[in-house]
Amino acid sequence: MPDTTDTRKVREDGEEAGPEYGFPQPLFELLEKKGKPPGPLFSPRLWRSPLRGPWLTSVFGAVLLIGLPIMILTGLLSYMAYQPQFPGNAFPHKVYGLRLPYFDWPTNPSWLYRLNQGLHVGLGLALVPIVLAKLWSVIPKLFVWPPARSAAQLLERASLALLVGSILFELATGVLNIQYDYVFGFDFYTAHYYGAWVFIAAFVLHVGLKLPTMRRSLKSRRLRDELRVSLADTVPEPPDEHGLVAEDPSDPTISRRGVLAVVGGASLAVTAVTLGQTVGWRPTALLSARGQSYGDGPNDFQVNRTARTAGITDADVSSYYRLFVEGRTTLQLSREELLALPQHTAELPIACVEGWSTVQTWTGVRLRDLVQMAGVDNLDSAVITSLERQGAFSRAVLNRGQMTDSDSLLALQVNGVDLSMDHGFPARCIVPAAPGVHNTKWVSRIELREA
């Protein structure tokens, strides 16, 4: 679609006619001529940067056009990884059609959720400077007078408020959540999920309306050539119909390539001080919440919920501990009896929705062996319950594939030693590619459901 909201009419002789107003014309005319608030805020002369212009905005826009769809996709996939088809498994519980179609989350490759969340959180952080730069580049348009000359412009501005509001809302809630700062007070999952749908609506529209403008603007100069222009040779972009180029620009203090380097560099810097939490270079993750080391013992890796927080007592995990497996028959197994069963070892990641992950070597009983022992041969799903008395994830439902994968374990040991209390002693689940919190710790009951 061409830039449909441009209401200035250019006559054949090139002379510009007066502005054209939509219905109701007198109202829009009145707004323009009499409604302008006093003060310099709505004066175009307020905006002095010699670098703002459609080309620069389009460069930021192009980066976001690649990055944001990845954010949307990984976000929606993360929700599906929690297996919302099983009630109680995902938050928010019911999303009334605002989701991808149900499917069994796979177990292969085991790093699937690690990659998904590493991308979602890592890219989300890296895009913060790009989003801020994009907003900087278009902010004069927020203070244009009149705000609209037609209903079309008015509605489009409202959609932009949704777009900018939702991206800032998503970034703010996400960034606060990974730092455990729940100052917002509402449920993070609910807000971030529905906020994402507001963003999807506004983003798809914005791309639809602006893609032609972006492509045209990107063609106006070549990136390769622009990267050769020094500060001394930097001049403003030619005047544009969008009103991004300043009417009365000041002298440049930075080149266009300089701006790109600063914004790109800021993005890389954010990545440099956080990525380590995902890829295992933990000491480099200086500013990530999970960038701290626990030590170098076999149980010294990231804990998500301490035994103390979960309310697990010594009595819970004493020699009286029994695991109940309920199928055709009900099994009651002590930890010694579990250790006496065939043991299997697998190297598997724990990957948190917050983006951090850690790969460890787990040893324990295959979940599918327990299914077989309980006499169930047409398994549908299983409810895994923790000794934990409260908490959103004291219970998780695993699908058939997750229960029968050869690496899905009821782990008793990690890195060759018994699990520590904080890592789920006496026994915990570890399932390839499952979201971290679905690897239930302190497992007390496995309820097998037949198809």
């Binding site: 939509g22 449920d187 560099g265 200086l286 804990v303 301490t306």
Partner: protein
């Protein structure tokens, strides 16, 4: 008067906008079935205000004030000299903006309950990164200044 003229754009524009508002409205309606929908809406609007009317004016004003206070000469490094201050300040400010909950130890309780650790290292780490950024910038400034031929200033 045609729809195109009275509305101000192609009818497809109107249809697309209605679709956008309908989907966004539906999402908000579903969210409002949960707890604290008003608070969510306030944060949505608050995020807009915080960026457009607080953060942007703040950094723009600081930048304009500091730039204005520096001498302007059309030779390096004076020409782009402000950037030796601007870039490390921007980096440090960005990291603070993004990671202030850790830096200011705002979430010790929830963080400790989850991880069993405390947030004491982060302030020092941020200060260290800030220091490195400014120090590197200072070194680059000195190198640039030495390379610049000195001319008598009028």
């Amino acid at each position: 008067m045609s729809l195109r003229r009275s509305y101000g754009a192609h009818p497809l524009h109107l249809i697309s906008l209605i679709a956008c508002f309908a989907l966004a409205g539906y999402a908000f309606l579903q969210a409002s079935k949960g707890p604290l929908p008003v608070r969510m809406a306030l944060w949505f609007v608050g995020a807009l205000i915080a960026h457009d009317l607080v953060l942007f004016p703040l950094y723009a004003l600081i930048d304009r004030t500091v730039s204005g206070a520096l001498p302007r000469r059309r030779r390096l490094p004076s020409l782009g000299g402000i950037n030796y201050l601007r870039v490390p300040a921007l980096l440090s400010g960005l990291l603070f903006l993004m990671f202030f909950p850790l830096i200011l130890r705002r979430s010790e309780g929830a963080y400790g309950a989850a991880s069993g650790l405390d947030q004491s290292p982060y302030l020092a780490r941020w200060l260290l990164l800030t220091g490195i950024a400014f120090a590197a910038s200072a070194v680059l400034f000195v190198i640039a200044a030495r390379r610049t031929p000195t001319r008598p200033t009028a």
